[in-house]
């Protein structure tokens, strides 16, 4: 038997079944994105609905959906939100803690729906609301902070016996920056806002040396967030290996509808 014939038969056999036609990408179908946070005790004033942007589009204009009829339900109460333009909606009531809210509208013949729970208000405590720090002037040249005294860390605590997710933000709210460290009167550190990740925690430690770079009033907000926010926050797939559908609590859409409660504390940092 001719070896060439054998080879030809084998190749033809497997070539014939070896490949299917190339799979095509799905057509881009823009989906409605919901971005809505309900803060316990605050007015419902920033519910946004828009469309996703196509990768292929050169023009990346965000398309807000302003002509929707959006229903917000809380128990037996039903509200039709007011459109305020650019895809934003509001309603002049305050979100009530410990209540469940449902958001619903029709888009492309589908019902887009999301539900969230607004967690109860909570109280956080700070060890002290005043602290003194030494003003540091580096005009004298290098030498580091070796001999400079910084205060002890300050603890913020709250009850979290139910293992809920919290995180903390802290920012200096003075209009003018008065830096702890300067050189020839010039600011050498940018103002910054400190933010932690959502975690199951019942305290936060402020390290004055690292966290307090300015004198004045710091506003500290302790957020309690729900599971939908945490799952969105934890989503990190940005590579071709780890890309997955993004987490969402919106049916027939994307984005987030989340209830949040906060407690706000203040810390005064004064020069010694």
């Amino acid at each position: 038997m001719n070896i060439n014939y054998i080879i030809a038969v084998l190749i033809c056999t497997f070539l014939g079944t070896g490949c299917t036609e190339k799979l095509n990408l799905n057509e881009f179908a823009s989906q409605p994105i919901v971005e809505a946070f309900l803060y316990a005790g605050h007015e419902i004033d920033s519910i946004e609905v828009r469309l996703t942007t196509s990768y292929a589009e050169e023009d990346s204009v965000i398309s807000g959906l302003s002509d929707l009829t959006i229903m917000l339900e809380e128990g037996a109460n039903k509200y039709i939100l007011d459109a305020i333009g650019n895809g934003f909606y509001r309603y002049p009531i305050k979100a009530v803690a410990d209540q469940v809210y449902t958001l619903r509208f029709e888009y492309n013949e589908q019902t887009v729906e999301a539900e969230t729970y607004v967690p109860p208000l909570h109280q956080a405590e700070i060890e002290t609301n005043r602290i003194g720090m030494t003003r540091i002037d580096l005009s004298g040249g290098p030498g580091g902070f070796g001999q400079i005294d910084f205060p002890d860390p300050i603890a913020i605590t709250w009850d979290n016996s139910n293992s809920e997710h919290y995180y903390v933000s802290m920012a200096n709210i003075e209009t003018e920056s008065d830096p702890v460290i300067s050189r020839n009167g010039e600011v050498i550190q940018r103002r910054r806002r400190m933010i932690t990740e959502p975690q199951i925690i019942d305290n936060h430690i402020i390290n004055p040396r690292a966290d307090l770079s300015e004198f004045g009033t710091y506003q500290i907000i302790v957020y309690r967030v729900g599971p939908e926010y945490v799952s969105l926050f934890e989503s990190t797939g940005t590579t071709s290996i780890s890309l997955n559908d993004p987490p969402t609590n919106v049916e027939n859409g994307l984005g987030i509808f989340a209830g949040i409660s906060t407690d706000t504390l203040y810390l005064e940092v004064e020069p010694l």
């Binding site: 497997f14 205060p151 199951i200 890309l243 997955n244």
Partner: protein, 813 residues
């Protein structure tokens, strides 16, 4: 080219097996290394004329029946010179000890006709079966370490583009679907340095047999392939030792005869060191930059200077092999083999201010306070294997051979990334623990008995059993207290197998077998029929084929993590949440072989069921105020097919040896959860071409390898959106394409190497220089996406660029 004549020593320990006064006899013997007396497993023994043949068992023993006392025996073994000699009336009365000479050795006794076969692989020994010579691997380009699994990736049907994994993607399968046996025990993880090297020290291995599919009934528990590694026994003649050094690691081996030459001990080890070369490799596969990662930690001050810590991550790997062998007599062989390999990455650091006196803070009245602060960050990644096997084999008679194996294998993988901060004052103490702790610990206790019975010269029965107990623990803790996952899988498999190999007219070899396995978790019996054949159309042309069913009960899950290295862990299937995966192999092929050349073609089709894709993610459960957040495991179950055609053209002899190979393949998965139509699996590669060449110039050897492959599929964003988080930052999210709907660019790479063998005062040394990715091709590993000011940017993350390396080895003998 050296002389084609060499020699053998025939030790005459008589063991006559004459069956009658006819001229046909039964002969038996052992094939050993001429310099070390080490048994050579899976050597080919061919009786001419007539072409009756057999292979030696794992102890180098063989038996041939009905051999004419005037026949000529041809013995072949990879890495050794072929040997042929004529039998005579005296020789057939003996239990032959056939001593094969490693290439390059000279002996001085009986001279018989022999030819050098400077081969690295032997691809013609069976259906989808390839033997590899570890001794010859050093001739191929490498990273300074000759690496068995990296070399196997140059074979047809095995992906040669997986630079980030030493595991084998065989015929569309994934590495966890391969059964890796080392001296009888199963090795569950084969990666060093995030997959850049395999966990096996090739200096301690004397034989590698790869079954790419259609493997026999004696193997079970995996659905893709079998890699059977046989460790060196050690030199039974004299003490020997060797040292090796590369830009990456150093290694040593020592071997010594024991028990008056009846036994031997071998110890081999290697360890990496943090050279700049090592660091470059390390950085190319992680985001860690040892220099950039040097951090300064400064704690709160007091009446003294701030504490400062300069920190550089510490990373290394090592492996250790030991084997004690004892050949009590012609019938009984005992061996105790031990293996341990481990990778360790330590990124931990401590900031600690012991209690000290300090002035009171503002509002504290100026009092002195007792205060201490400590912050311990533990960032450890540690994985490895322990394995041990105790073997007893006995040649009960010329016809009956048994091999019993008692083994233990342990794979462990730990990632501890936690931070503990403690602040203590006179009256209060605040502790805060954050981070994750992940541990996978797999234990495998096995007992196995393999038997071979020669019913006649044309009929061989193989049968045996295997019992394996698996215990797999997987813990995933968050913030030191919250148990995200806590699994303890326990189960056992009990298998019986039987196969019959029949040779008809020295032309047709048929092997039929059946393996049955009782799986304790599902309390069900699984049958796996196997069938293979080869038909010699002429001396040069052979047809071959195989069919078989295969089941897999332990599944490895991979959690992709680009920045820190992917995490993997094993689970036992329960056929409810984790399916038992199964495959049916269909293989058909032909080969054309001359003394110089081999042309081998094989087509395969694999039907796959019980495939699982795994993910853990934060998921919400419940409604309203009862809505909770949990880490949940999602096992998506699917089916698939893998099919392809492999062509191998090998030049076996001469100064220039090597092979060209081409694989046409396709792997399609069907998972309803991902797509309503089949999609290409991530390991799918349509075309793959490889060229491997070694040019022998005596003491000099030049080698080159070239790989060209079409791009692998990947998933890409088709659209995006962003959400403004509560802290004011914007997070980007993507709508994604059809699963694996796009293709990366084609992959290609050229590697070159040169080596030189030298005599150093009676000892041997070898120097080598390798160049990886000679023309610096930027092959893409994956793509990264980010949205910047409303535009989606795509970044190609490339695999390793041009990398030169050096090695030197020295051997006393």
């Amino acid at each position: 080219m050296k002389s084609c004549y060499t020699c053998i020593i025939l030790f005459l320990s008589f063991h006559l097996q004459a069956q009658s006064d006819r001229v046909t006899k039964t002969i038996s013997g052992t094939v050993v290394d001429a310099t070390s007396s080490e048994a050579l497993p899976f050597a080919t023994i061919i009786c001419m004329p007539g072409k009756q043949g057999t292979t030696s068992n794992v102890d180098g023993q063989f038996t041939l029946f009905e051999v004419s006392d005037t026949a000529t025996l041809l013995i072949q073994y990879l890495g050794y010179e072929n040997l042929s000699f004529a039998l005579d009336a005296d020789l057939v009365k003996t239990n032959l000890e056939i001593r094969l000479k490693p290439e390059g050795e000279l002996l001085s006794e009986v001279v018989v006709k022999a030819t050098a076969a400077n081969q690295i692989l032997k691809a013609s020994s069976g259906v989808s079966r390839i033997g590899v010579s570890p001794a010859n691997l050093a001739k191929l380009p490498s990273f300074g370490e000759k690496d068995i699994f990296r070399s196997l990736q140059l074979l047809p049907g095995i992906s040669g583009t997986q630079e980030n994994s030493a595991g084998l993607f065989v015929r569309g399968g994934t590495p966890d679907q391969n059964l890796i046996l080392f001296d009888g025990f199963t090795v569950y993880h084969v990666d060093h340095l995030f997959g850049f090297f395999s966990a096996f020290n090739s200096n301690a291995i004397k034989d590698v047999q790869l079954h790419k599919g259609g493997f026999g009934a004696q193997y079970g528990g995996r659905t893709s392939s079998v890699v059977e590694l046989t460790g060196k026994d050690g030199n039974k003649e004299e003490f020997n030792m060797g040292l090796g050094l590369s830009l990456l690691s150093y290694n040593a081996i020592a071997e010594a005869p024991l028990f008056a030459g009846k036994g031997s001990l071998l110890i081999a080890g290697r360890r990496s060191f943090q050279s700049s070369f090592y660091t470059n490799l390390f950085e190319s596969f992680t985001s860690a930059d040892a220099d950039a990662a040097a951090t300064t930690q400064q704690g709160p001050g007091g009446n003294r200077n701030f504490g400062q810590q300069q920190f550089v991550p510490n990373s290394y790997f090592y492996d250790l092999n030991a084997k004690l062998s004892y050949r009590a007599d012609d019938k009984n062989v005992f061996a105790l083999s031990f293996y341990n390999g481990e990778d360790d990455l330590d990124n931990s650091r401590v900031a600690d201010q012991n209690s000290f006196r300090r002035p009171g803070r503002f509002g504290g009245g100026g009092q002195q306070q007792d205060f201490s602060f400590s912050s311990t960050t533990s960032d450890l990644t540690n994985w490895g294997n322990w394995g041990a096997g105790l073997k007893w084999s006995r040649q009960w008679s010329d016809r009956f051979y048994s091999n019993a194996n008692l083994s233990y294998s342990n794979y462990f993988s730990i990632r501890d990334r936690t931070n503990e901060t403690t602040i203590m004052r006179a009256d209060t103490s605040i502790n805060r623990n954050t981070g994750t702790y992940e541990e996978n610990d797999l234990r495998d206790h096995s007992i196995k008995l393999d038997n071979r019975y020669h019913v006649s010269s044309s009929n061989v029965l193989e049968f045996g059993f295997q019992h394996t107990i698996n215990e797999i623990k997987y813990d995933f803790l968050q913030n030191d207290t919250i148990s995200v996952l806590d699994r303890l899988d326990q189960g056992s498999t009990s298998s019986l197998y039987f196969s019959d190999r029949v040779t008809i007219a020295n032309k047709l070899i048929l092997t039929a077998g059946l393996r049955s396995t009782w799986y304790s978790i599902t309390e069900a019996l699984y049958f796996e029929p196997r069938l293979s054949f080869s038909y010699l159309l002429s001396d040069r042309i052979k047809f071959k084929g195989a069919w078989g069913d295969y089941n897999q009960f332990a599944t490895r899950i991979i959690r992709e993590d680009i920045q820190q290295g992917s995490r993997d862990f094993w689970l036992l299937a329960d056929d409810e949440t984790v399916p038992i995966s199964s495959a049916t192999h269909y293989i058909l092929g032909a080969s054309y072989e001359t003394d110089q050349w081999l042309l081998d073609l094989e087509g395969y089709y694999k039907k796959l069921t019980g495939l699982s894709e795994y993910t853990t993610r934060l998921a919400t459960a419940g409604v309203g105020r009862n809505r909770t957040l949990n880490y949940e495991e999602f096992f998506y179950t699917g089916t698939g097919t893998a099919k392809g055609l492999e062509v191998l053209l090998q030049k076996k002899r001469g100064r220039l040896t090597g092979w060209l190979s081409y694989t046409l393949g396709e792997v399609l998965y069907e998972f309803e959860a991902f797509s309503d139509q089949p999609f290409h699996a991530s390991q799918d590669q349509t075309h793959e071409f490889k060229a491997v060449a070694t040019y022998d110039l005596g003491r000099f050897s030049l080698s080159g390898t070239f790989v060209y492959a079409s791009g692998r599929p990947y998933t890409a964003p088709t659209g995006y959106y962003n959400i403004t988080l509560l802290d004011g930052s914007e997070a980007d999210f993507f709508e994604i394409s059809d699963k694996n709907g796009l293709r990366l660019p084609d992959y290609h790479r050229l590697d070159l190497s040169a080596s030189y063998e030298a005599d150093l005062w009676g000892s041997k040394a070898e120097f080598g220089l390798s160049f990886f990715n000679v023309y610096d091709r930027a092959n893409i590993w994956y793509k990264e996406y980010e949205v910047v000011e409303g535009a989606l940017f795509e970044t190609n993350i490339s695999l390793l660029d041009f990398t030169p390396s050096l090695f030197i080895t020295w051997n006393l003998k």
